[in-house]
Amino acid sequence: MVYFPILKELEIRDYGLYPGEQRDGRFGIKFNAGLTMIIGANGLGKTTLMTLVFRMVAGTYDLNLPSEIGTANLDAQELNPIARRQFADRVNDGAQNAYATLKFDVGSVEFIVERNLVNLSLHSLSVGSQVRSVNEKAYHDAILEASGFGVYADWLLILRTLVFFFEDRRALVWDPGAQRQLLRCLFLSPERAQEWTQKERSILELDSRMRNLQAAVRKEQKIRAKSVKRLSNESEVRAALDAAEKSKEHLDTRYDELAVFVESDDEDRLKHRLNVMRAQNEHDRSIREFERARLFAIEAHLPQVDASMRFLFTRLMSDNTCLACGSSGVNAKRKALESAIEQHRCLVCDSNLPYRDETIIDIGDKRIAELRSEVESTHVYLQQQTSLFEEINARYKANSQEFTECSAERSYLQDTIRNLINQLPQDERKALEQQDKLQGIEDLVTDLRTQLNKERAQFAESLKSDLETIQSSAEVIKQQFKVASMGFLFEDSGLSWSPNRRTVGQAGGMEPVEYPAFVVELSGSDFVGLQQRSSPSQVSESQREFIDLAFRMALIEVASPEHASTLAVDAPESSLDAVFVDKAAQVLGGFAKSAHGNRLILTSNLGASELVPQLLMEVAPIGQRLEPLVDLFSAGVPTRAMIESKVSYDKYWDQLKKKVNGESES
């Protein structure tokens, strides 16, 4: 079990950007349970305020998060002096006398952290009512003890990727690296989480060492080839050696390329195999639905005929297939049968049937047309998916085959080169000595590769039990995600547990390991059934934001059940389609109103979207709806735009107040 920060109170003193409503240099925010909405205009310091809150909790350390998070990057690094002055540089006086104090809980422990805003250094620290020594190390230790995380980098990771949702937010659900690191630190014990990181890091270091050495060997091989060329006479051996060296160089490059291709093709073909099987399933479902509708009509017309015969007719009328001879596309016969049913004639001999006082399903109705169209569209989709799969599978097989051949040919050439060098005249001792030295390095590369394989196998083995531990929470995460995502979106959506096969490190030819991962599945107007959306480009921008937010909310809820958390979102409306506003307000409001006392902190521009009034109406009763607002217009320093457009801003304020208080606008 881990605990997230629960923000309670922020006080900023003598910081030029926030002089406070009384203009006495004191600005404070109480983060009550529920919503805190920071309202301002461009340039008033909303994002700075959110960043300041983040910095107060994170301290003077941060992670260097690249586009895809890997283990090697997960070190807590001290901020450089420029980054530490980020708040000082925003004000005229360099924040010489400015301080900020943040009160927050982690689990049952209260933290009161005071930092100066010149360089963010700690000024005072109280943990659980006890004054602690003023150094970052003491702060880190206290945080780790209270939160249940094993290393401070993991605390920073959850702050950066889960609790704070800045404008440059990463799409967490589509970043397999970020996902697996979060799942690791949220659902494994601190010891297991650390062991994972250490093992993975050791492999990556070994991998890097081995590849560097290998590159050095290749370079030395080229140099050696040149020196041999200088020493040796033009001979058949020389020519053969030269040709072999060139081929080997070419093969080395191709080998590296193919290793990458094979891994990515393998991922692709897995995805497309799934698509084909789902398409088959959907097509079968639509055929059975159609058959069912047809069978009603056939049964009514042929009550005496045996079941096999009725089924045969049913199928012929469903997907134009004659089960007796296997012919497909028997459209004319289908139409004749339909006409016979409509005109109340026998399907077998075409005689007129006596009137029967029974309800016969009208096969010409709209539902039948829909079902037929579904059978056709699922069939087209199945064909498309099958053809895509075949193409990708063929590519995988070709690359895989070439990779195997390339690998065998490399070994063969390596032996050939050694043999040829041995055939060179004795006076080329220098070259041979060089060869001996090179052989030593080559042996070292081989040893490293063996060691790498061994460590990878051990890591893969230990990952299996970690995978099981994390998977035991997968069902609840999926349920929580579904609740949130269905609230946000109009489409059917869900998460699917889909462990991700990946090679640790970059050296090719190694078995991939299975990492924990979820993939998003979404229905769509152009798709049949739920489809995996493996990249953010496969959904709209609004969907992207809220799918990711739903994923974060699910992780927070499951990782720390029955406990409150903070979710701080900078400008959630930035890509919000107007029709999503009601839904977004409901789900975000639901998080804010949680019985555990969650804190939802949002920043927004005045009048930027309907989300602000909708959310205020969602979380508070009439009369108290303005209470969650933090008004930077009155507490901040007016910008030139605010001064020149005061009338407009006042109008927006007025509209907001009227709207949330249920007054009609005149």
């Binding site: 096999s308 045969l312 699917s496």
Partner: protein, 216 residues
């Protein structure tokens, strides 16, 4: 899923043979007519347990569904056999499968002996070991109660493996190592140190499934 027409033909033929042999073996074990649900379940068991008899699975992959195994291509083949008069369908109707939220055909099937017998006799000569495996499997399966037939695989070691979500692919040998065939692993793990016959392992495994269904 394969483009090669020769492969497709072989696969289609293999499916026909598999259905006929399953129905024949079930009839031999006294389970006739056989329910569609039971037939798909037995087809799945025949795939996961084939390696116990050192045989390759016909399909080492399927889409996991909440309500149990279902092979669309196999059902298409059954339909076709019905149309050709080789298999007889009894009491077909459709019901809403609430677990998977789809319409599912419910029917019973039996062989039309006069048409199927010559083909089956030839099959038993050509694929003797496979026929023996299917016979033993059907005999073991027939020990399940009528209520349990069609609902047992939900407790199968491979099918129930929680690392594969519903609506995702269960692979036990197509692109993964045979180690991932947990059903086969479980069957091979009975009575360590004893030299059990493959057929005994099938009985023990099906019995184990029955116990799991009975005791949750």
């Amino acid at each position: 899923m394969k483009a090669n027409p020769e492969n497709s033909f072989q696969e289609a033929t293999a499916r026909i043979v598999r259905i006929l042999s399953l129905l024949d073996a079930l009839a031999g074990a006294g389970v006739t007519p056989s329910s569609s649900r039971g037939l798909h379940e037995l087809a799945f068991l025949a795939n996961v347990l084939a390696p116990v008899f050192d045989l390759p699975p016909m399909d080492a992959v399927l889409l996991k569904r909440k309500s149990g195994p279902y092979y669309p291509a196999l059902q298409q083949t059954i339909d076709r056999l019905v149309g050709q008069g080789i298999v007889e369908v009894l009491n077909p109707y459709y019901e809403l499968d609430e677990a998977d939220q789809r319409c599912r055909m419910v029917a019973s099937y039996r062989l039309c002996r006069e048409v199927a017998t010559p083909a089956l006799a030839r099959y038993r000569v050509l694929f003797e070991s496979e026929a023996r495996f299917i016979d033993e499997l059907a005999a073991a399966y027939s020990a399940l109660s009528d209520q349990d037939q069609g609902h047992t695989v939900l407790s199968d070691a491979r099918y129930a493996d929680a690392s594969v979500d519903d609506n995702n692919v269960i692979d036990f040998g197509q692109w993964v190592s045979i180690d991932k065939n947990f059903s086969r692993n479980a069957a091979m793990a009975f009575a360590p140190g004893y030299n059990l016959l493959p057929a005994e392992r099938l009985y023990l495994y099906i019995d184990h499934l029955q116990q799991r269904v009975a005791h949750g």
